[in-house]
Each structure stands twice: as structure tokens, then as C-alpha cells.
Symmetry: C2
């Protein structure tokens, strides 16, 4: 198990034991909150500028588990509800649906977001609901690719603190910025003690490790006891969902982070370069393919992340998805799949992270053929 050895050696050094003893001890049922909190805390501080107490790091079986635990713990009582952006990451809304947690939504973006959040929190109150959590991906959102700027982040934090709404800041794509200045994580801007910071090693290291984490703040609304109690509740709930995260995959992540001196910046350079190249190729292809249709079709120019949003002059739902795939051999995601209402019916999400750069031109041509066929049919 060479991949886990660096962690076993590190643990052995700390405990004055030896790596073999540590390795054997880790084969048993382990601490529910995990064994690599300190190493994760150092990486998150180094790479993302988020300072966190290693005793407040809950290691989870992938970040999806962290999202599920947070929503179910924060919205445990009747009348508790969650607020999400619209469209939003399916893994967030599906957890709420399955757990029977009412979902409120804000479709506004940018400078309008905080005002819309305030309005929706009040609307929920009028319906007898209490918004307990706001789930969002402020950096290169999935599905939109959007980024919230610092001023908008502060405004959202202020509104949430006023209403005592916990912010679940999910940041899977933050390390994948191609241009411009990195944003400040909301967990770093947070003065009220209101942000749970969620992260994953699926995008930086490997999805099948299934290692993610939730970082609970030092104080929750100024109370250290409330923060500790929230951490304990999350941990208890995890003990009944998955007992603990495999210490084998934890040790693999930790071994990696130790070898890389607590930073993944160097390690992700090749992927980052490839994603940037794909983004560039995609924008060039779109510009070329749709040069004559720019009054009908538009798209954003993401500075990072995996996704681009495209606005179409017609509805693109399940039927279009199938026809586009079967007749034109290209897969794009209807934005309505991520939506909580009908506002996204004419939008699609293009993902450029997994493709090889050379396939992107062909993909865009095929999409172009589909779109032209549809537009002709309509006119």
C-alpha cells in the first residue's frame, strides 16, 4: 500500500509509534469525523486561503455526502427549508427533495442576488417556513459557470447573517481558474460565523477516492458552543449513514497531500492547462459556428470551471436532448434539468472538461447542425 505509506509514517511520527502499528490501527472502525482533518486544513489554507480549525473538518464519503448531511442536519425540524439558486446543482436539490425539505429559489444573479435572497427568506416566512440554509457554488457554478464577485458575496453573507441562515459554500471548481484574479471564498469573508465550507478531492485528485469534507466555522453566530454542537450533530448523523469514511481512501488523499507539501497547485497544472485549452477551443468554435446567428444565440465566456451556458431561441428539453444525441451524435445538458421552474427552458449547459480538445470542434459543428435544423423547422 505505497500510496498510503506517507500518511502512516506521518501519523507514526506524531504518535511516537511506528507506521506498521498505525496502518493496523487504521484497519479497524475509526473516528467518524475522519483522521486526516489536519492535513486537509493545511491544504485548504494553502490552496484556497480558507483558514480552518482541523478539529472542525468532517471528512465525508465524497462531497455529496457532506451536502446531504448538512441539509438534513440544518433542516431537521418541521417548517425548516433550504434556499438554492435557480438553476442549481442537481445533487443539492435532489437531497432536499428526497428528505422532504421544502426548497425556495432565487433566479437573480450578480448584484441582484442578495436582494432576491432577502425577499425569498421573507416569502418563506409568510408560508410558515424558516430558511435554515443557502446552498450555492459561488465560483464557477454548476450548471451556469457563473462567478459571484466579492461585493456580491459580502452582500449575500450580510443578508444571511441577518436572518441566521447558514451558507453552504460548495467549491469544487475554485482551483480551476484560467484567467483573472481568484475570488475570495465566502468562508474567508464571513465575519458572522455562518459559512460551512464544502470541498472535494474528486476534481483535483480522483473521483473514485470518494473523499470530500465539510468545514464548520469556529463560531456559529458568535457562539463556539453552537458551532461545536453543529459539528457533533453532523458527525452523529454521519455515523448512522456511513459509520466513517474509509481510512484507506483517506490515507491515499493524505499521502498525496503530504508528498505535494499540502498544495495541489502543481499537481493540477496539466489538467488546468487542458481545461483552459478546451475552453479556448470551445469559444473559438462557437464564435465561428454561430457567427451568423449572434442575435439569436448567446453564451458566456467562463474564466474557469467546467461549464458554459448557452441561450437558444427555442426550448431545449428531453425531446431535444434525445434528438440531438441520436440524430447529431452530440450530448449537451438541458438547463431545465437543473431548474426549479420553467425559466431555464431555452438554455443548455456545455461541459468541456472531459472531452479531448480535438473533439470539441466536431461537437460544436454537430450542435450547430442541430440548432440550424430546429430553427429552420420553426420558421
Amino acid at each position: 500500500m505505497s500510496a498510503t505509506l506517507p500518511f502512516h509514517q506521518w501519523m507514526a511520527q506524531r504518535s511516537g509509534s511506528n507506521a506498521g502499528v498505525v496502518a493496523r490501527s487504521l484497519l479497524q472502525y475509526g473516528r467518524t469525523s475522519g483522521v486526516i482533518g489536519e492535513i486537509i486544513a493545511r491544504q485548504v489554507a494553502s490552496d484556497e486561503g480558507v483558514q480552518c480549525n482541523s478539529e472542525r473538518v468532517l471528512v465525508t464519503a465524497g462531497c455529496q455526502e457532506a451536502v446531504a448531511l448538512c441539509l438534513q442536519t440544518l433542516c431537521a425540524d418541521a417548517g425548516d427549508a433550504v434556499l438554492m439558486r435557480n438553476p442549481t446543482y442537481i445533487g443539492g436539490s435532489a437531497v432536499a427533495h428526497l428528505a422532504g425539505i421544502p426548497i425556495y429559489q432565487v433566479t437573480a444573479a450578480g448584484a441582484d442576488l442578495a436582494t432576491a435572497i432577502d425577499g425569498e427568506i421573507r416569502r418563506a416566512q409568510r408560508h410558515g417556513h424558516r430558511i435554515r440554509a443557502l446552498y450555492l457554488i459561488p465560483e464557477f457554478d454548476n450548471p451556469t459557470g457563473e462567478v459571484l464577485d466579492d461585493a456580491d458575496r459580502r452582500a449575500v453573507l450580510e443578508v444571511c447573517a441577518r436572518h441566521r441562515v447558514v451558507v453552504l459554500e460548495d467549491n469544487p471548481y475554485g482551483m480551476f481558474r484560467f484567467d483573472g484574479t481568484p475570488s475570495t471564498p465566502m468562508a474567508t469573508l464571513d465575519n458572522a460565523g455562518s459559512v460551512i465550507y464544502l470541498g472535494t478531492y474528486s476534481k483535483t485528485l480522483c473521483p473514485t477516492l470518494r473523499v470530500g469534507y465539510a468545514v464548520v466555522p469556529e463560531t456559529l453566530w458568535g457562539s463556539a458552543e453552537a458551532a461545536q454542537s453543529l459539528f457533533d450533530e453532523l458527525t452523529l448523523r454521519k455515523s448512522y449513514v456511513s459509520v466513517n469514511t474509509s481510512a484507506i481512501t483517506q490515507a491515499m488523499v493524505a499521502g498525496f497531500l503530504l508528498q505535494e507539501n499540502f498544495s495541489l497547485r502543481n499537481w493540477i497544472q496539466p489538467s488546468l492547462a487542458r481545461y483552459r485549452q478546451n475552453r479556448d477551443r470551445l469559444l473559438l468554435a462557437l464564435d465561428a459556428e454561430f457567427a451568423d446567428l449572434q442575435e439569436h444565440i448567446s453564451w458566456n465566456r467562463p474564466a474557469g470551471g467546467f461549464f458554459l451556458t448557452m441561450d437558444l431561441p427555442f426550448e431545449f428539453g428531453n425531446e431535444a436532448l434525445k434528438s440531438c444525441a441520436a440524430d447529431h451524435q452530440v450530448l449537451v445538458m438541458p438547463m431545465s434539468f437543473f431548474a426549479l421552474d420553467s425559466s431555464q427552458n431555452r438554455r443548455i449547459r456545455l461541459a468541456y472538461s472531459y472531452l479531448s480538445t480535438n473533439d470539441i470542434g466536431m461537437g460544436v459543428s454537430r450542435l450547430g447542425a442541430f440548432i440550424r435544423a430546429r430553427m429552420e423547422k420553426r420558421s
Copy 2:
């Protein structure tokens, strides 16, 4: 990653690919229901005599996740309730509590169990609830160590089939029988298509692998479509809880099973011998320590598993647990911790699996000193 290589080679052979390509493909997000269902199905058939369709094996992040998924999927509607034995494994009841699923209970054992189940299902109906699932560990129950014989299993299956209650048969200890004839798993006795068979590699291989499984029957109440639909619902729910089980730990389990020719019987021999030796030593020590107290204190003589139940002439709760640990340096579990009512207040669970044999005599002496001190204080 030598531990995973046999599985990668096996997959490669099937797909006409090579092990490197397979290993790389498994690093990505994978099939939610898992990639080692066929190998698990062969081991379960070989070791436990349960025939299962490999396409109905849902690989989970430990068996606890399987329990949670099954309860939440089967009891998803208002009024749905679960039936458990009393006392019961905490991981079962806690999931129901957290999910807000009403719990009904039966304290009866042996030949009275099926009648009690029938009565409790009817009682639930009178309360406007519908029992959807019965959770039980028929072989070396945790916490009691009890075994249900074949006739009692059939009677329970008959009652559950009549009321369309799904039986969640959890079998973590079945491989650890010291004497007597192995029981027939309820999944094998099941003619109605009503048993979901739950298993784990935590006891046989290693807890921190966090690999367990749920096997959905070929037909549910005679309907293949209903069984498929249940499997699909479980899988969908898993996708929003943990996306999929780490393909690394899955490949480790599969690699192991391939090397052992799909049977863990040989592999567990050393643990089985040690557990048997511990059980024998514990019974001898109890017989010796409590020879003069046999009219006040009794215990069962488990033929397998990890646990023994002891009946005391006084209540043993949180206070006794602490005093016994602090003043006599021995830990036993109050049975009331596993109970849904006050019927277990004078019972304790002794676990003999984790101790070294030589420590058992000392543990029993210490427990004896505590019990004698309590009995003197009372008289």
C-alpha cells in the same frame, strides 16, 4: 496498487481490454450500483448459500449505508413504518429515528416471534401506519447473540408475505459459527420474493474498506418489474447520498475474493478460531465467577457471533456503565442502549470478539467484583 490488480485483470479479460485501461476507467465517477456485483454474488452463493442475480446487487459504502437506503426507500411515504426486534442494532433504529420513520417493535423471541409480528403489524394499522419493512439479524443477533431456527424463520416470512412487509435480513455474523449446523438464510427460504439480503465485508475482511451490499430479490411479491423498480429507487437514492462506492475499495474486496476463489471460509479461519476460543474462555470464566450466583444471574451460550447476553438482578444503565468502567476498569454495554422500551433494563451485552483471550478472565473478575458490590449495596 497490487491489492486491486487481480480485479483489474479480471475486468480486462471480460472486456477484452487491458488492466491499465480498466484501472484508469475506474478512477472516474462510476456506476452507482457498483462494479463488483458479479463477484459478490459468487461469494454470497458460495459462502452463505444465497443465490442472487448479480444485477440486483447494490454495492454500498458499508452495510450501514445499505440499511439507511433500504429503510428510507421502503418507508418513503407518510404513514410508512418499520418493525424491529427489541432490543435491536442501534444502526437500524437510529436511521429510522433520524429519518422520522415510526418504529414498531416486537420483544418476543423464537416460536412467539411470528405471532408477535402479526399482532404488531395489526396494531400499526390501527394507528394509521403501514409497516413496510422488518429489520432483523436472524443469525447471532446484535445485541443478543440469538439465533432464529428455520421453522421460526419460515413463520416470520409467512406473516411478512401475508402483509407485504419486506424483510431486511442483515447477516454480518453468519460466517462466524463455532458449533452446530449453519442456519438457512431467510433469503433462501423466501418463496414470496420479500427478502432484501444485507451483507458486509467489515467482519470478514476489514472494517475500514467500507464495502457492504444489499441484494434485491428476483421478484418482489412475484413481480420482476416491482423488484427492478425497487432496485432502481435504491440506486437513485444512493446517487444522491454518496454518488457511488469507491471503486478503489471495491477493487480491493474483489481482488481478495478472486484470490480466494470466491470464498472467505479459509481466510476467516484464524479469526473464527480466536472468536471460538474467546467464547469458550468467556463461558468458563462466567461459570467459575458466578457459580454461587446462578439463581440471580444468567446468560446464554452463543454458538457463534460476537455477543453474549447476561441477565442481572438489578438495573444496569448509564450510571452503572460509568461506575463499572471507572471503579472496576471493565466495559460492558447496557442492553437498554439497544432497547426501544424499559424491558431490557436489567440486561447487559458482553462482546468477546475484539479482546485477546487472556484478558477475558480479568474482565470477568472485574465484572464479578462490580456485580457483587452492587448486590451487597442493595441487600
